[in-house]
Symmetry: C2
């Protein structure tokens, strides 16, 4: 399979020899972007690159409006090779297939460089620029080495002054669609290769910082302790319980805990747990967040701990356009397989692109639901079906019938 070989070729471009690490605006990004540009060129697309390094492959159509097909080529640390990359490759292969079809709209294949947020504290900066919602204050964000996004753009040979020019005009962009591995176990559990995304779930990040009193682990009696980590441990279990009780409407995760001073023989004086709460059901997410906040306060009060709760991310659910969903579903059915519709628990560039135009997404089954992990895998057959479904979608696409 051609898609599989291309996925592997890009998967070999990494900052480290033993694992896949490809961060935004790094030499690895440059190498991956050059490879993508080369593929686009050979597919007959006119290649350009904007101020954030997004590679664009353009196929002219009969009208002025364009169908945008994109995904990202950056990675998490120790990543799998399909995440993002396959969506770009699917776009190139589909556009190549449509080269001689004289479609009633143009196609732009977009390879974004900042979806994972692995380098800077903010993310979706490249798709935000295309959507015209890039915030200039993002330029001041620093990576772990203190390099600002503005400096990274310059080091990549671009100019922050050109960011506004990356934005599409509203009358240009008909829709944005993306093919992506599911990164979850739903399609595999239903034994289906492809799914239609109904929405990208909303997300809340809550930082819960408990303040207790550090003390010697051997000398302070249990009843005199104010152990910040014990409070955080209760909070972690509360988040899990609340999400379980939502019966599938929401998920809650604590993936990171910071404990200070952090020595085995010192009672923790400070503990921070970061809650990642997601749901495609806005009231369900709000209910869970409120219940969690009030539970955190109760834990802190009972344990005589200080508590600071900060919401560091608040992203509303992004619905996918119903007409695009239907067209994807028709294209999947035409391949002889059932189009399962469900929400995306993961975030995607579509969240930014939805500020510009209607969006839609096609999911591809991945083994074990595993992603952000070198074990990530999608079968060549499923990849082929996804490219075929994207082509079928393009053939059915009617910009005039969109709700946006």
């Amino acid at each position: 399979m051609r898609a599989e070989a291309m996925v592997s070729e890009l998967g070999a471009i990494s900052a480290e020899p033993d694992r896949l690490v490809r961060l935004f605006l790094t030499p690895e990004h440059r190498r991956a972007a050059d490879r993508v540009a080369d593929w686009m060129c050979k597919a007959g697309l006119a290649v350009s690159e904007d101020a954030l390094g997004t590679v664009r492959g353009r196929l002219e159509g009969q009208g002025k409006r364009r169908l945008l097909i994109g995904s990202h080529i950056d990675s998490v640390i120790d990543a799998g090779k399909y995440d993002g990359v396959f969506g770009v490759i699917a776009g190139i292969l589909a556009a190549e297939h449509c080269r001689d079809k004289r479609l009633p709209f143009g196609i732009d294949v977009l390879a974004f460089g900042d979806e994972e947020g692995s380098r800077f504290p903010v993310t979706l900066s490249s798709s935000s620029a295309c959507a015209g919602v890039f915030k200039p204050e993002m330029l001041a964000q620093e990576d772990r080495n203190g390099v600002t996004l503005a400096d990274a753009i310059k080091a990549y040979g671009k100019s922050p002054a050109d960011v506004p020019a990356a934005a599409y005009r509203l009358d240009q962009a008909a829709a944005y669609v993306e093919v992506h591995i599911e990164q979850g176990p739903v399609l595999e559990a239903r034994n289906l290769p492809l799914g239609v995304v109904t929405a990208i779930n909303g997300q809340t990040y809550l930082n819960a910082e408990f303040l207790g009193e550090a003390g010697h682990a051997g000398t302070v009696p249990m009843r005199l302790r104010r152990d910040a980590l014990a409070g955080a441990a209760e909070a972690i279990l509360l988040g899990e319980t609340l999400a379980r009780e939502s019966n599938g409407a929401a998920v809650a995760t604590v993936g990171r805990v910071a404990v200070a001073p952090g020595a085995a023989n010192v009672i923790p004086g400070n503990a921070v747990a970061v809650f990642d709460i997601r749901s495609g059901d806005e009231p369900a997410r709000a209910t869970l967040v409120e219940a969690l906040k009030s539970g955190l306060r109760a834990i802190a009060a009972r344990r005589h701990l200080g508590l600071t709760v900060t919401s560091t991310r608040e992203v509303a659910t992004t619905p996918c356009d119903p007409h695009i969903q239907d067209q994807f579903a028709d294209a999947i059915r035409a391949l002889g397989t059932e189009p399962l519709r469900f929400g995306s628990g993961a975030g995607h560039d579509g969240q930014a692109m939805a500020k510009l135009c209607p969006i839609g997404m096609l999911f591809v089954r991945c083994r074990g639901g595993i992603s952000h992990n070198p074990m990530e895998y999608a079968s060549p057959r499923d990849l082929g079906l996804a490219v075929a479904a994207l082509i079928g979608f393009i053939e059915r696409f009617e910009p005039g019938r969109l709700s946006g």
Copy 2:
């Protein structure tokens, strides 16, 4: 108060300008040792230094047997100035006071350099050498920069080959006593300046490593998760509950948690909690450790997590000699204050010295029970009482009546 001024003088010797950091066999250790040697000299003691940098100030007596009085001059990172240092100063001041008394035993004041274990993975190496229980394999231990203890000894101008010569002969050492701030809240709660230590509590370190399955925080349904951190959170609360239920017989602390991969949007695949369990009551500690281990297994089984439990430290309770306890108590009573007897939750050089001879300890009240912290404080009046009690002890000390 002279002791207070000396404590402050030594407290100013640090590797960092804004906080107290004085690690074993560093230039700061050298400077502190030189200051201590100078004080010993002026107190009329004959000064020497062994292969591990322990400074010894010798006062000859009428017999061959010696009372060893010691503590340590190394510190934790961001330390208080009393911990260890005051015990050395109390020994010097008491020995100076006894200079012309022609005691029936000699006195050696010992300033150890490795009690905190802040530099190397092992600790008590300097008191172990004095006690003749130094294990040669300790020499291969490395600090954070990969410097072995053997190399650090050489860089300090000493020779690892001279370590055995640091050991006291069994017939030389009559007893080892140490004055130390309590590092806990017991004396303050009872409004008493001084306490007699009954034993140095035994300690178990348990590393509990939970193995789950990392996954995307947005896409894996709650019921399909195997979240290692959620298991560790339950374990932390179990340790706390078991220690509370011991009704003061034992304490249990988790001061450090390691989570992997450790990203806010990834379900933890691995979580390690380190339990520090202490008790002066050996059966109580064993009971708690067993209950914790069996509870950890139950948590892992219920959550379908892997579990590895490793005991990384197992130190038996070190009893203080009853006769030394009585002599300290008599000396405290003679100062007009009640001698409260209780166990030491913190570890001390006496744990190593007990392998050589009977030991005893005198505790001094410290504010808020706070230690290992720049807020550490003991009043000049209490320091003075402690020196007076040590002198009173020396005057009462009868090597022939010891149980050891």
